[in-house]
Assembly symmetry: C2
Homo-oligomer: 311 residues x 2
């Protein structure tokens, strides 16, 4: 298959999800997007998924990788309280991805998620490589000046998470041990994470969150980033951390790729116990003292960042 032919195929697949906002899609030097509606600002994020760093060929189904690769970007946009609009995809392709339908499966589930989220592919790049890699850039929008940032938490804020944590880490463990089927809830959480597409928008519109970010690398790593960006500290109440069914405390504190939302709200703000069936749980508070700590009935101990390291 030549580069131009692969691009033709992807272009045909992308055309199915064509929608508003595009003046010119795939196939020219650049895509051309119509201006955003007045009062909106643009959000943009980029993420890569690399063979042997983020996945192994033997350990992960191709479709799951295509899904997850796009899910990460959608989650980033949603965590800012925004809506995703368009995406670009770069692919580095070893020969083995073209046999046995591997790439077809990868693209099929990526486009399945793109269709669900109603975002069309508008551009990209394909090249040979001896390692598979994909890079997704997602472009979205949010009402000007209202994006949920991670540097806005203040001492005294309550810290919340959506959903339950550690499911993806548990699912990964099961996959490695081949101890569960692909239909197991934890395995599904790992291979087909559901980005919380509407929650950030709800928190932003209702003014409930002061700071927010998505949990991609694990609570201990991501909460430390939020605390650092806000020039504050966070104390997590160990007993309060909601655990995915079967997940250990270790997995809930450090496991990556749950794609739940971490946010803080003023103690005066009423945060509901759930949103559309998704639990919203208070797990701690923002404090003046820098760093991240875990608090139990008996003691307070520093919590080192032990989540996923891309690097």
């Amino acid at each position: 298959m030549t580069e131009d032919r692969l691009i033709d195929k992807i272009q045909a697949q992308a055309a199915r999800s064509r929608q508003a906002g595009i003046r010119l899609g795939i196939g020219d030097d650049t895509a051309v997007l119509k201006p955003l509606r007045a009062g909106l600002e643009m959000l943009v994020t980029t993420d890569q998924i690399i063979e042997n760093t983020h996945f192994t060929r033997a350990g992960h189904p191709a479709g799951a990788l295509g899904w997850k690769c796009l899910a990460r970007g959608l989650s980033d946009i949603a965590a800012m309280g925004g809506k995703s609009g368009h995406f670009l995809l770069s692919l580095a392709l070893p020969a083995w991805t073209l046999s046995n339908g591997w790439l077809k499966q990868f693209l099929s589930e990526m486009f399945q998620l793109a269709d669900l989220a109603r975002i069309p592919l508008i551009g990209g790049d394909v090249a040979r490589s001896d390692r598979f890699a994909a890079n997704v850039t997602v472009i979205g929008s949010v009402a000007a000046g209202t994006a949920l940032r991670r540097d806005r938490a203040r001492p005294g804020d309550i810290v919340y998470v959506s959903g339950k944590l550690g499911g993806s880490a548990l699912g990964f463990e099961c996959l490695q041990a081949r101890s569960k089927l692909f239909s197991d809830p934890a395995v599904l959480r790992h291979i087909r994470p559901e980005p919380r597409l509407g929650l950030g928008d709800y928190l932003r519109k209702t003014g409930r969150a002061r700071a927010a970010m998505d949990l991609s690398d694990g609570l201990s790593t991501d909460a430390a980033r939020l605390a650092k960006a806000s020039k504050a500290g966070i104390e997590i109440n160990e007993a309060a951390v909601p655990r995915f069914d079967g997940a250990s405390l270790e997995q809930a504190l450090h496991g990556g790729e749950d794609y739940e939302l971490l946010f803080t709200a003023s103690p005066d703000t009423r945060v509901p116990k759930s949103w559309r069936g998704l639990p919203l749980t208070a797990i701690g508070s923002v404090v003046k003292r820098r760093g991240l700590a875990v608090v139990t009935a008996a003691k307070r101990r520093p919590l080192p960042p032990r989540g996923f390291r891309h690097f």
Copy 2:
């Protein structure tokens, strides 16, 4: 070096080139860009550079790769007649890139070009890998409805190129043979290509070009793409193709990475012989008969695409 520390370092470097249009730069889930001025549309392009596909560690200086990686995106935006505004960078980093200042040099020359083009880095992703790869996404803008596209050529149009072709291919040959110094003009053309940042904008504003694209993969490959997009053919007058000093006809016809502009204009349009010292040369014409052909005084022969294949 940890992921967060590397991001801190890149963030510090990016902060130097901070400029208008950014609500929120590197460090959150996404970047936030202020709306474009009324009447502008957004351009967006993404390109990757991969070890052993686009370069070899032994054959290319690190700084040249950083420069070229960004130059490709800038050239795409410029070829649409647009101006680049911001960029994002994903890096896949083997351990060797962190020793001997390799990555430092890569980033240094990339930021040197970013400073020249006045575009700040607004986001990215870093991860370990066993192969080096970089993916650059460039965001730009152009007056609504005026972008120079490759699907607008019409039979009868004259086909032009800017500058002289084959220099990058010649430079690459010299680098491989170690027969020239880094200061040789052809070698410089290969390792530090100068995207034609203002030419597309000039052609667009003055209404001189009907269709345009940049020459990244070689005339025979790229002219065929322009012809195909425009549902027409192109005949190139072999003797008219301007050759870089020392380049063979083969290199001028098929050599990639010259980053000159290929454009067509109605025969009624007066196209100047040069623009700011850069020659603009008529090399052929758009014809009804599909495909690409080379014409000499004696005969007409089909010209197969033999430019660079990424894939």
